[in-house]
């Protein structure tokens, strides 16, 4: 099945009858709207002409100071000069890739990996090489082997891209020891580590995991975002980068957009200065924890034997593996016909892996809808098992297709 067919199915997923476990939209409804109304009103009244003007290419200096408080939560200490504010951390990904990579350069990514990053690497004609994960995330032995194999083939590795906390789409988290190992391998190999951490503050248990960047200011570029902790529509993210890299990022940012939206930045800045943002993050956590629990309970109760899934300790996603012989891409139309949507696993790889996998998101639907969605999905999987049993085939091979994922505005 081609990517365009899968995208056509996502068009159906936007209908209210369909329970969409496919999207990645944060539940911004959990943000009290009056908090932002006051913030924006005060901003325009008191600093309107500044907010509506161009700003610095590196981002508003007050906001950069405030970002230090936010990244302090994951153990990072830095200087405001180390920070580049971007239009969502997606833009930071784009800028870092532009600065680091030439066509044909290798980027090592997890198996599976964030589809938005794969899209960027592909756009800059990088060679993406997947490295295996286990339930602790990126697997050190596999990483060492991948570095050796790529280098033996004469190619140059420019970045190791990792999402250590509450991985999208895999739903796993690197423990402290694992993070130390990954960092040691990157250092030893002299390869920059690109740490993408949009969900770091959205853990359901204990303190937020300590960022890898907290233990290395020179070899790690850290990407953060307000999309999940305030609101995705504001499009404010940032990179924390070592001096030499940061200047290049600023130049690249100026070339791309002159400056990130001053209006959005000052809205975030005003919000951080005047609203109880830590409390708000707690209430986001509660919302997502309740939904994760609803999903995991339903999966436990309803999924047919042979189906497995990851248990996320934070973030938005669980990664499900179908029983042997099933193909999540071939099954997608049947799921849509039964009014439930997911993202087939092949979209998170560049090399055709992931046929037995799917990403399930619990961030947007209400808990009751999640349970209903899982119930429908279980029925779909059961019929598919019967179909595959009848024909002894999983269906037409799905080609590698990173574009077979929904647009960002799908629930």
């Amino acid at each position: 099945m081609r990517a365009s067919e899968i995208r056509a199915l996502f068009a159906v997923a936007s209908r209210p009858e369909v329970v969409s476990l496919a999207g990645g939209m944060p539940y911004v409804q959990a943000l009290p709207v009056e908090m932002l109304t006051d913030t924006v009103e005060r901003l325009l009244r008191e600093r309107g002409p500044v907010a509506l003007q161009y700003g610095s290419g590196q981002g508003d200096v007050t906001l950069r100071e405030q970002i230090l408080d936010v990244i302090g939560e994951v153990g990072i200490s830095a200087h405001p000069d180390d920070i580049v504010v971007t239009t969502g951390s997606q833009m930071a990904l784009d800028l870092v890739t532009r600065v680091f990579c030439n066509p044909g350069d290798v980027v090592l990514v997890e198996s599976p990996s964030y589809v938005g990053a794969l899209g960027v690497f592909r756009a800059y004609e990088c060679d993406v090489v997947h490295v295996a994960m286990d339930d602790q995330g990126l697997e050190p032995t596999a990483l060492r082997e991948a570095i050796a194999a790529v280098r033996a083939s004469g190619r140059s590795i420019k970045l190791i891209y990792t999402i250590p906390s509450f991985h999208n789409p895999a739903g796993v988290t690197q423990g402290p020891e694992r993070r130390r190992e990954i960092l040691a391998i990157a250092r030893e190999a002299g390869i920059a580590l690109l740490e993408d951490d949009p969900y770091g503050l959205l853990g359901f248990e204990g303190e937020p995991p300590r960022a890898i960047r907290a233990d290395d200011a020179d070899g790690v570029i850290y990407l953060g975002s307000f999309s999940k902790t305030i609101a995705s529509g504001l499009r404010v993210g940032w990179a924390v980068a070592p001096h030499g890299v940061r200047d290049k990022l600023v130049l690249a940012a100026e070339a791309a957009v002159l400056c990130p939206s001053n209006y959005a930045q000052l809205t975030v800045s005003e919000y951080l200065a005047t609203q109880p943002w830590r409390e708000q993050i707690k209430s986001f956590r509660e919302v997502y924890r309740e939904r994760r629990d609803a999903m995991l309970d339903a999966l436990d109760t309803l999924m047919p034997a042979g189906t497995t899934w990851t248990v996320p300790a934070g973030g938005f996603y669980s990664w499900l593996t179908l029983p042997e012989g099933l193909d999540a891409t071939a099954m997608a139309p049947r799921a849509i016909a039964n009014l439930v949507a997911y993202v087939p696993g092949t979209g998170f790889y560049v090399d055709g892996q992931g046929r037995r996998n799917m990403r399930l998101s619990y961030c947007y639907p209400e808990p009751d809808r999640i349970r209903e969605g899982v119930r429908r999905l279980a029925g779909v999987i059961e019929s598919e098992i019967e179909l595959v049993h009848t024909f002894g085939s999983a269906g037409p091979a799905s080609p590698p297709s990173g574009s077979a994922v929904p647009a960002p505005d799908l629930a």
């Binding site: 068009a11 009848t390 024909f391």
Partner: protein, 315 residues
Amino acid sequence: MHVLVLAGGLSAERDVSLRSGRRVAEALRGSRPGWEVTEHDVDGSLLDRLRNHRPDCIVPLLHGAAGEDGALRDVLDAFGIPFVGSTAAASRLAFDKPVSKELARTGGIHTPDSVSMPQSTFRELGAGAVLAAVVGKLGLPLVVKPTRGGSALGASIVRTEADLPAAMVGAFAYGDVVMLERLVTGTEVSVSVFEGDGELLALSAVEIVPEGELYDYAARYTAGTTEFFCPARLSDDAALAAQATALNMHALLGLRDLSRTDLIVDADGVAWFLEVNVAPGMTETSLFPQALLAAELSPGEIAAGLVEAAIARGA
């Protein structure tokens, strides 16, 4: 004058339908600036809308089930609102490929041999034995497709028996009954038919040359992936035969206003009927609009004419 264009729906062809709807609504607005032309999805709010803001005419542009199988048209009938296109009963005949093919056969129209079976047949009798029997009867290569639904979703060409099971699973993902049809090679064409001034007209056949071997979903809706020739590169006799087949199918099934018939013209100039669509696609890459443009007809004028005729006809 208030015209409601229905597009979207819950089928896998929702996105195509939305694009068709937008395009037809724009064309109508362009040709009849005085009309109020609105687009609406088929959802829980539709019937309230019909009750509270009753349109003078409806243009159903839903593809796939509900839109083309007659169900929605029955509802429109119940509301007594005139609509463009075939009746519910005729749509049902057209939408079910085995039924329309059988009617074609009885009308003396060529159509490739085929068999259609639900999943339960394969489960109960054993898929291997059933497929072997089908291949024994029809030979290879075969086209495997769901018996209902369009845009070639779930369709594939099978050249070896080993590839059949995967194709069957792919087709059953889109429907409960699957057709295995002998592949006829030749020129793939599509003939659009519409009624104007009380007369049934067949436009020139459009020839389809997809990049790959199948005119599949991606080939249909990705600009530049398929080469079209209008008129098709056929002999005069073959072109006439294709048009005659489309006109005959339209009449045989009792269709109304417009339809599009998909055919293969073989090396001997014989036109083989594959399927007929009562709600042909109207997107920027679709065949019906291409045929109209090639005939220097304005899609907006034709659509407006069909709306006017539907209103004159009444519900």
